[in-house]
Symmetry: C2
Subunit: 114 residues, 2 copies
Amino acid sequence: MSKANHTDCSSAMLPVRDALDVISGKWKLIILISISSGNHRFREIERSIGKINSKVLAKELKDLEEHKLIKRTVYDESPVFVEYTTTPYATTLGKVIKELRDWGLNHRKEIIGK
Amino acid sequence: MSKANHTDCSSAMLPVRDALDVISGKWKLIILISISSGNHRFREIERSIGKINSKVLAKELKDLEEHKLIKRTVYDESPVFVEYTTTPYATTLGKVIKELRDWGLNHRKEIIGK
DNA sequence: CTGTATCCACGAGGATACTG
DNA sequence: CAGTATCCTCGTGGATACAG
């Protein structure tokens, strides 16, 4: 953690809060990982996560769409189907997810695994 | 976001969940930033954040201590006082916080600021 | 100053069933 | 398949007061 003096403390807190508002919560990043891993259909995503239920998934997908992180496309063929894809903007979260993943791996070794 | 195939999807999700369990929530990282910015006393931290209240702060500090991210030291002078400091382990979160901060700054420009 | 004690509101998240 | 509709639990977070 970089040291900072008292005055620029809030200048660090605000953007972190902004970021957390988007990605915090139990499922947001998990869903993004699932979609970017090749799951594009509602039931696919649901199954890949396992413990989430339809209502919660639907809500989270809406949130992610509002934040421009995923795109929902309805294909009007028959049968109609819906596809979720990550947006180019979502790729900007790549480094965040990588760091979280690395840290999570290490944390499990260091703390949880004791 | 790095592409991954279906099979290693959960191998990415689990550590991210571990990380989020620790740092997610409204205040955890904010408190860490405050402490590492030079606020070491309970009321200092409270004031630097502004909108948090004593009960919530006390609980979050306990959580952070359990996760070995901060250290609580009681100085038995008179008057007695308590000091919170970040642990060396907390510095491993540095990159995570940096990425979150950078992303949050950009996100505000890109999305919120529209 | 450093918290605890109450009491409380609200929303996230969940179980189950159901619709088009 | 892609969601909605209900109903519910529980934790987070908060207001206010107070204790050591």
